[in-house]
């Protein structure tokens, strides 16, 4: 059965994979630039503006520089694991994009191409699974660095990500109760025809948002790399492109979680207050992608905005927030959602 592979489909998917991976890399690259610019604007500064017009070549310069920097592998670290850390971080960051519906179908030389690499029927679980693996890159890298600051960063990352995954999962369950499907594509379709999930699940969205911040190690949850406490946290010992991978994966994670949030709660590629079906399918698809990207950019801006505004938590306060506030809230949200569904379906 498996031999009967549709090679055209394979090719199509392959191209899509390449496009998506490169697009997310490119977006991540420019997210680093955007972060600097946004930080600058929020702080009454100008930000990088010397590399190329408006400093647009800044990320390229950074990347190039990191590539040509000396690689240092600390003496007593396990070399293999030391290299594997950033690689894993990068890999898991990129893998999530596989199940995201980037847009509707697009007609391409008479062929209807689905703008989604794999419409897995358990899509959201896949996302969840990959996200749960993301911590390995940090942990392995931090352990292999053989540095106490790194190790502490790794430990903080591990406990933080596990703790917040729970609340995230529970808040998702409430969402799943409403949608009744695990497929991301179907969720988007549902939202196209009804309300956005954020209207139905405001609390769930809030919890998910907080957990997404935590999973991406962004302020106020950036304890694993808290620069004033742990120097660089888990990537203290990394130099050159391995460091680049870590920094990059953080931005890819941010991008992907923005996409996931937009898809789950904000209708994905749905254009609000507008019926796409009146448009030509290609145009609709492209507009859909634009809509999705707009939402994503808004989320990324939110990520940065929060980062440059509020202080970070202390380790025990972070745990307190996760276990004593978010999880009970998520449980309550789940129960309430269940109750409401039962009441209306009676």
């Amino acid at each position: 059965m498996l031999l009967a592979i549709d090679f055209a489909l394979l090719l199509e998917k392959l191209i899509l994979v390449v496009v998506v991976v490169f697009a997310s890399l490119g977006i991540a690259m420019y997210t680093t630039f955007a972060e600097r610019k946004v930080a600058a604007i929020l702080q009454d500064r100008r930000g990088p503006n010397r590399a190329g017009p408006f400093g647009l070549l800044q990320p390229l310069a950074d990347g190039m520089k990191l590539f040509f920097k000396e690689e240092i592998i600390p003496d007593f670290s396990s070399k293999f694991l030391f290299v594997m850390g950033p690689a894993l971080a990068m890999l898991t960051a990129c893998m999530t994009s596989a199940v995201i519906p980037w847009g509707d179908k697009i007609d391409f030389f008479g062929r209807s191409v689905d703008l989604q690499i794999a419409d897995v029927n358990i899509g959201i679980l896949y996302v969840f699974g990959v996200v749960s693996l993301g911590v390995y890159g940090i942990m392995i890298g931090s352990w292999a660095s053989n540095n106490k600051f790194s190790l502490m960063g790794g430990l903080r990352a591990a406990s933080q990500i596990i703790s917040y995954e729970l609340a995230m999962g529970i808040s998702l369950i409430a969402l799943l109760m409403i949608t009744g499907t695990l497929s991301l594509k179907e969720m988007v379709v549902q939202q196209q025809h009804g309300y956005w999930n954020v209207v139905l699940q405001p609390l769930g969205f809030l919890i998910f948002l907080v957990c997404a911040f935590a999973e991406c190690n962004r302020t106020p949850f950036d304890l694993p790399e808290a620069e004033n406490e742990l120097i660089g946290g888990y990537h203290t010992e990394y130099s050159s492109m391995k460091l680049g991978f870590y920094l990059f994966s953080e931005y890819i994670n941010m991008f992907i979680s923005s996409v996931v949030m937009a898809t789950l709660f904000f209708g994905g590629y749905d254009i609000p207050f507008f019926d796409e079906s009146v448009l030509a399918p290609n145009l609709a698809a492209i507009l859909g992608i634009v809509a999705l990207m707009t939402k994503v950019i808004a989320f990324i801006f939110l990520f940065m905005w929060v980062r440059w505004t509020i202080p970070r938590f202390r380790y025990d306060q972070l745990m307190h927030l996760g276990w004593r506030i978010l999880i009970p809230l998520a449980l309550f949200n789940m129960l309430a959602t269940g109750g409401v569904i039962l009441y209306f379906n009676k």
Binding site: L42, Q43, N228, P311
Partner: protein
């Protein structure tokens, strides 16, 4: 488990991790080394090492005439060097029995309070940075630039000001300096508005409050025993302020309060510093008003009339013999210094900044000792952070406002 279990051979009996914070750790803002014994994230023990930028001020001071010591004092607490300068000049004036006109006193008060604000704003915004919020720091730093501009108008330098001379100032305040001061004091666009915004950003933010409340606390008795002075002591609840206790430079003419805290934790220190900035602003306004009240010839007085210690004007040097002689005497450091010893202190940004000057009548001090508040209260740091978390240690460090230059002399 009970104690009859023998630990296996070679097992490490130490339960804690040793973490070396510094001397180049970002949290130390200067150079201290703290060796922490951590149990998880909790600090069990801390040992601090200082002296990484020891520069032998006291030895240098024994080789320099009085006026050359002013640049040295700049480099003690470089966040508020004018206070150090003024303190030094006040000490010299006390030794040389020079009394200063009121206008000089008020101008000094202006400069000193500006320095206090610039110091406190750095300290408080660094507390913000160390707790992870960077923007507030950059917002208030813009006003520190304005303070520096005022210094620059008065003395020509931004940070290590070398401002003032024995008996007064090097030159009169220009109009530009007063204009900038007005700009600084403006309620709408000046520092008060910015400070209010800064407070809004932090003081009632739960994350910040959680981070700072109960972090690095000290009781009034312990603080006193440890030799705390300044805002850190006042945060513990003791209203000791040199400006009130032994007023210098006509501080008794001003109306201000001494903000005190209760627990001496980081939050109290933060609030006390913020309040002190408000008080300084109020003093600045009063002082500026008082300075403006001088009219006519009085408005041009910027130094005491002490030709033996204050350099004559350049044009007099070129023309008058007497002035030339004084000029040479002062520059060569051959002013007549009475034999004696004097201790004088001012309220520095960090606490009581004392100068103990022994003169044997020579051209240089026989011995000059600086009472550096940082140095004295830093020894309480291990006690402050004990049983706290690692993050607490960082934030306590910055809220104590430790200035390495002052600490190590």
């Amino acid at each position: 488990m009970s104690d009859h279990i023998l630990l296996p051979e070679g097992s490490i009996e130490k339960q804690t991790t040793t973490l070396n914070l510094g001397p180049t750790h970002p949290a130390t803002h200067g150079v201290f080394q703290n060796i922490l014994e951590l149990d998880g994230e909790r600090i069990m023990k801390a040992t601090s090492t200082v002296g990484y930028i020891h520069r032998a001020f006291e030895k240098i001071a024994e080789r320099r005439p009085l006026y050359q010591i002013t640049p040295l004092t700049d480099r003690l607490n470089y966040c508020s060097s004018p206070i150090n300068n003024m303190g030094w000049h006040l000490t010299c004036e006390k030794l040389l029995n020079v009394s200063t006109p009121k206008r000089v006193d008020y101008l000094r008060v202006i400069i000193m309070e500006l320095a206090r604000i610039s110091d406190h704003l750095i300290c408080n915004s660094i507390v913000g940075v160390d707790s992870g919020a960077y923007s507030g720091f950059l917002y208030v730093m813009q006003f520190r630039e304005l303070i520096y501009e005022i210094y620059e108008e008065v003395c020509g330098s931004r940070l290590t000001t070398n401002i003032g001379r024995i008996g007064g100032f090097e030159r009169n305040f220009t109009n530009a300096a007063f204009e900038k001061l007005e700009k600084f004091l403006d309620e709408k666009t000046g520092y008060p508005a910015q400070l209010r915004e800064f407070e809004n950003l932090f003081t009632r933010n739960r994350i910040f409050m959680d981070r700072t409340i109960g972090c690095g606390p000290i009781t009034a008795e312990r603080a006193m025993n440890y030799g705390f002075t300044g805002p850190n002591l006042r945060a513990a609840g003791v209203d000791y302020d040199v400006r009130v206790h032994s007023p210098y430079s006509s501080y008794q003419d001003f109306d201000f309060t001494v903000p005190v805290g209760t627990t001496g934790d980081c939050y109290d220190r933060f609030l006390v510093r913020n309040q002190e900035m408000w008080q300084s602003l109020s003093i600045l306004k009063q002082a500026y008003k008082k300075v403006q009240e001088f009219k006519g010839a009085e408005a041009d007085i910027y130094h005491a009339d002490v030709p033996a210690y204050y350099l004559p004007e350049k044009k007099d040097v070129y023309t008058k013999m007497e002035a030339l002689i004084y000029h040479f005497k002062i520059v060569m450091g051959e002013t007549e210094m009475p034999v004696g010893e004097v201790y004088n202190s001012v309220e520095g940004a960090n606490g009581e900044l004392g100068y103990y000057l022994i003169s044997d009548g020579g051209r240089t001090p026989y011995r000059l000792h600086f009472r550096r508040p940082c140095f004295i209260y830093y020894q309480a740091y291990p006690e402050l952070i004990k049983d706290g978390m690692l993050s607490d240690a960082v934030i306590t460090m910055s809220s104590l406002n430790l200035i390495a230059g002052e600490l190590d002399a």
